[in-house]
Structures are given as C-alpha cells and as structure tokens.
C-alpha cells in the first residue's frame, strides 16, 4: 500500500498578517508548522503502512522553507519527501496548486492512495483535495473520519456528515481528505528527529515537473482573490421589561418571530 500525503506548511503563530495589496498571507519567519489536518493525513498514512506495508511519501508545494515541514514528516516516519518548488509557483491558487501537485504525484509513480487534510488553516478553502483527484482522474471522498477496512482494490470508510456519518466504499487508487477526528497524530521520536536532519529532500522545479509556467503562479491562476476583509459583527441587545411572566411571554414571542421556536 503506497500512500502519498499532501502537506502544506502554514504559519504557526496566531497573529497573522494579510498583505493589504494582494489579500494573501504575509509569509516568512520561523514559526511555521505542518497544517494540523495534514498531520492527521500523515498519521493515517503511517497507520496504513504499519498495517499493510508499503511506503509513505510526503509531498508539498511551497517555498524552500517548507523543507522543514517535510523533514518533520520524515521524523514521524515518512519514507521519502518531495518539495515542488519554483519561483514561478508563487501566488498559485488552488487550481494551479492542484495542477502542480498532480504532476508531482504522477512523477512519483501512481500511489494506491493520496491523503490530504480536509483544508488548510490559512487558506481554508478545502479545494485542493477534490481538484487533485479530478486532475489525477481518481475517485475522491472528503471528510473521512475512519478507515474501516482496506481490501484488494477498494477501501471502506466513514465520512463525517452534519449528523452522524456515511459509510462509503471507494475504488483504489483514490484520493481522500481527512478530518481531525480520524486520529491523534503521534509525536516524533528523538531518533526519528535526528535521522530526519540528515535526510535528503527531493526538490523538483517547474522544468523537472513539466509545468507550463503560464498556467501557474499569480498570473496563471484562474482564481483571483478580490478582497479580504474582516466581517462586520453586529450584536443587538434588547432588555425586556415588566414582570417575570410578561418577560417570558415577550421572549417567546420574539423567538417565534425570529423563527427559532
């Protein structure tokens, strides 16, 4: 069972800045981490490997600092790590990102499964998983909360629904995205961390991937971020007057009016 895990390095600090011109996150600094949902994806891949054998490959598109996150993936047990890195990729939207990732995954060789986190905590779109599946021509199941069984050519899973869950089967190879409820990611071991410092991270640029640079980056991305703004929060307060009974009646009336009751 060969699994590819898609990882994104995201800002680890809570105070994040948004570039007012481009509307994108200001990156940089050392306080980065692996997107938490991607940690769940990696953990699930590790568990599949421990149960069924095979290997785990971690892949990321990002700046060269993202090597640190890939190193962390190796410390946690990933067998290999690939960074897709090229100045031409800067500013790629989810479509362009998925396109680049799909080429990277093809270059790695067809895996049995690709696992993504359900979304990133910086972009929050949740689009890369399904887009990637489409571009790879593979089936996709989102929000997987449990892998029940893996058998020859298919996988049976639970996916989270608003109330309860769906049990779905998917043909392999396929792509899934996972929610945080699926597992508790392990912590690295000291030996794993020390070995990962020496591990080599494969880096592929646009040319090596065969990416048409006109189709990626901020210029080539079909998606355009128009505006990022803080939502206006309006809280209205109203104090009810009168006796307790009349206040209760007024309250019930207002709740009915608002169609809450």
């Amino acid at each position: 069972m060969n699994v590819v895990v898609c990882l994104k390095q995201v800002p680890g600090k809570f105070k994040i800045e948004i570039d007012p011109q481009t509307g994108t996150l200001v990156k940089g600094g050392t306080d980065n981490m692996i997107n938490p949902f991607d940690m769940n994806a990696l953990e699930e891949a590790m568990r599949l490997k421990e149960k069924h054998g095979g290997k785990v490959s971690a892949i990321s598109m990002g700046p060269s600092e993202a090597k640190e996150s890939l190193r962390e993936a190796i410390a946690l047990g990933a067998d290999e790590a690939v960074l897709l890195c090229d100045p031409a990729f800067d500013g790629s939207d989810t479509w362009a990102t998925s396109h680049i990732l799909s080429l990277g995954i093809r270059k790695l060789g067809q895996p049995d499964m690709v696992i993504c986190g359900r979304q990133t905590i910086d972009g929050e779109t949740g689009q890369v998983g399904p887009e990637l599946a489409e571009m790879l021509g593979l089936p996709f199941v989102s929000c997987v909360s449990r892998i029940e069984e893996v058998a020859e050519g298919h996988v049976k899973m639970q996916r989270m629904a608003e109330e309860g869950h769906h049990v779905v089967e998917m043909q392999l190879p396929g792509v899934i995205s996972v929610v945080k409820e699926i597992n508790v990611p392990r912590l690295p071991s000291l030996r794993g961390l020390m070995q990962s410092k020496k591990a080599s991270i494969t880096v592929w640029n646009a040319r090596e991937l065969g990416v048409d640079v006109a189709m990626v980056g901020s210029k080539g991305s079909p998606g355009r971020l128009v505006k990022v703004s803080r939502p206006q929060r309006s809280t209205r307060q109203e104090l009810l007057q009168g006796s307790l009974e009349s206040q209760v009646e007024q309250l019930i009336g207002k709740l009915r009016e608002a169609k809450i009751l």
């Binding site: 392990r186 912590l187 690295p188 071991s189 000291l190 030996r191 961390l193 020390m194 410092k197």
Partner: protein, 385 residues
C-alpha cells in the same frame, strides 16, 4: 542565556517541551486532583525515546548524560512536577545498574528500561533511616544461592508501578554503613508486596508507596557490585541524580515565572496592568534572575559529571540546594503575584508551590545536602594544611 547545547540536546529539549505542552498540559490538573499515575504519558515518552536517553548505547539507549536528563526533567517540570518525577525516579532506579551493575545485569534490565517496557525505582528510605542511611533495618541474609529479605522501605517513588527495584539493604548489620548492600528485586517476586499508597501535598501524579519484604528470596546474582558496597552505591547514585532534582526545580520555577508574567500583564488594578507597578516588576526581575542562576548552576554541575570528573558530590549538592530553594521562593512569589487567583486550584501556581516543596526534601534534605557541601569544603582546606 546561551548554554551552547549540541544539536541532539536542542532537539531533545524541544521534543520534551512538545510532549509537555501537547500531552501533559491538558491533563495535569486532573492527574493532580485524582492522584493518578501517568501511564499513558510514560508510554508516549517511551515511544519518543525519552526513556532511552540516559541508557548507554550498548543497551539500546542513546548514551546521553546527566545534562540530557536534566533538559528533559526541566521541560517536563515546567508543566508538571509530578509527571516529571515519575520519569526522573525511573532514571534514578536505573543509575545503580548503569554505574555498578554487572554485564549480565545490564543486559538483562537496561534494554527494558530503555524501551519503557519496565520502569525502575530506587529504595533507600525506611521509617528509621533516610538521611541516616546507616540506620537501615531491612536485612538480606545470604542463604546458599539466595538472599532472604525482610523489612519495609517507605516513601518509594514509582513504588507499585515500577518492576525493577534497586534496594539498599543490610547484609551485615554489625558493620553499620559498611554492612549495606544493593540488590535488584523484581516486582512479582514471592514475599515482595506493596504497602499503602501515600497521599501527598504535591507531585500527586507520581506514585509513592511502601515496599514490604517478608522472607523474600532474591537470587544472589541480583547483588549490585559487592557486599558492603550498598552505602557507597547509594551516595554516588544520589550524587549523579541530584542535578536532575535541581533541573526539576528549575522547570517548576520557570513555569511559575511564566505564569506570573502572563498574569501580571492581564490583571488590571487602578486602571493599569499590575505589571506596570514597580513592586511587581522587581519581584518578577528577582524571580527571573534566580531561575537563570539556578539553571546555570544545574547545567554546570551536570556538565562536570558528563565530563568524567572523579568527584562531583559538592557540585551536585550545590546545584540541588540552590535550585530547589529557588523553586520554593519563586513559586511562593508566583502565588503572591497572582494573589487570590494564585491560591485557587483553577490557576496552576498553587500546584507549582506544592510541587516545589518536595524538591527541598527528597534525594537528601537540603540540610543534609548542605552537610555534604560543608564537608567537602572543610576537607579540602584540611588537606592543604
């Protein structure tokens, strides 16, 4: 301050901090309240290799030294002194084996301790003996290929949870401290049982119990070192472990300092945060200075040991006394800065103050440890004359 840790030590420290913050912090109040031994956390530390660091590489360890152990103790204690000492007492139990065990004993026990399969503990204290180790009453009588143990050890950290005990007993009571020997006793040996679990003021996540020996037969090959070496093994083991208690104290104090700074910036009185009041600022400044001084002394003592110094009783004793007295002072001041909130269990500093107290007591009370320092000091002067 820059302590020039090597790459592995830096990695070790940040790994220990990660475990402390991600795994220990969410459960520390509950473990304290319920006096629950942190098995799940111990297993997590084992799978992260933290139990391997102080074991030599030949026995599946990572060959780290006293400083490596101190870094882990400090980081764990910054969040919970109780979980930290469960970790530390295991290392203490392994030290007599590492330094005085036979090749067979090391091969038999150390790999299990390294992997976390079995925990270790060290037992000296009794109802009539603690600081006065010569007054140990537990006896071990040689009978052919066995020793037969009788007596009761008390206040044994990791008691009941550990499986490998290094126990100091009297093999020749007539010779006083020269009649003491160290023996390995495994949990499950017939005649070896556990007495009551103590209810403690602090470090409540840790287990403290009596070890009861009643005609307990232990194979003669479980003797550590030679007969009559028990007292020396105990003293030298404590010399090696005291910087670890110092590191525990530094960690507890660091946690209290951080909580104080955070609270002082949030707590508004007279229209501004209390961190704007100079009286509070000076308290914080003193706390920070004392913590850093304690850390520097603990690391220096640990490095002295790791450098292979022949004698380090004095350095280890100084690190223990200074750091633990500092922890008591700093945690008391932390409760003061948090005021009413500091006294409440909803905030972490009252626990830190309770946890700090034991560090002045165990592995040699600070009074007895001062005797060690004074003795070395005066001995040196006398030798020059």
């Amino acid at each position: 301050m820059e302590y020039f840790l090597n790459e592995q030590q830096q990695t070790l420290r940040s790994l220990a901090r990660k475990i402390a913050e991600q795994r220990i912090l969410p459960v520390r109040a509950e473990l304290d309240e319920k006096e629950e031994f942190p098995w799940e956390l111990i297993r997590e530390m084992a799978s992260s290799d933290l139990l391997r660091i102080f074991i030599p590489e030949e026995y599946e360890g990572l060959g780290g030294g006293c400083l490596d152990l101190c870094l882990v103790m400090e980081e764990l204690s910054r969040v919970c002194g109780g979980v930290a000492i469960s970790y530390g007492a295991n290392a203490l139990g392994a030290l007599p084996l590492i330094n005085y065990g036979s090749e067979e004993q090391k091969r038999k026990y150390l790999p299990d301790i390294a992997s976390g399969k079995r925990l270790a503990a060290f037992a000296v204290t009794e109802a009539t003996a603690g600081s006065d180790a010569a007054n140990i009453r537990t006896t071990a009588v040689r009978a052919n290929r066995h020793y037969v143990l009788n007596g009761t050890k008390q206040f044994i950290t990791n008691g009941g949870e550990a499986e490998i005990y290094s126990v100091v007993v009297m093999t020749d009571p007539a010779r006083g401290s020269r009649g003491a020997s160290a023996l390995i006793v495994e949990k499950g040996t017939p005649g070896f049982s556990f007495g009551k679990k103590e209810k403690k003021m602090g470090i409540r996540a840790s287990s403290t119990r009596e070890l009861v020996f009643h005609d307990c037969r232990v194979p003669a090959e479980n003797l550590i070192g030679r007969e009559g070496q028990g007292f020396i093994i105990a003293i030298r083991t404590l010399d090696r472990s005291r910087p670890g208690v110092g590191a525990q104290a530094v960690g507890i104090a660091q946690g209290a300092l951080e909580a104080s700074v955070e609270y002082a910036r949030q707590r508004i009185q007279f229209g501004h945060p209390i961190s704007a009041i100079q009286a509070v600022q000076h308290m914080l400044a003193d706390m920070a200075t004392q913590v850093e001084a304690a850390r520097a002394l603990v690391y220096a003592a640990a490095r002295t040991i790791d450098a292979g110094a022949k004698s380090f009783s004095e350095e280890a004793a100084m690190a223990k006394v200074f750091a633990t007295d500092t922890a008591m002072r700093v945690t008391t001041d932390a409760v003061q800065i948090l005021g009413g909130a500091g006294y409440m269990r909803d905030y972490p500093v009252e626990k830190m103050m309770r946890d700090a107290k034991i560090t002045q007591i165990y592995e040699g009370t600070n009074q007895v440890v001062r005797n060690t320092i004074a003795l070395e000091l005066l001995k040196r002067k006398a030798m020059r004359e």
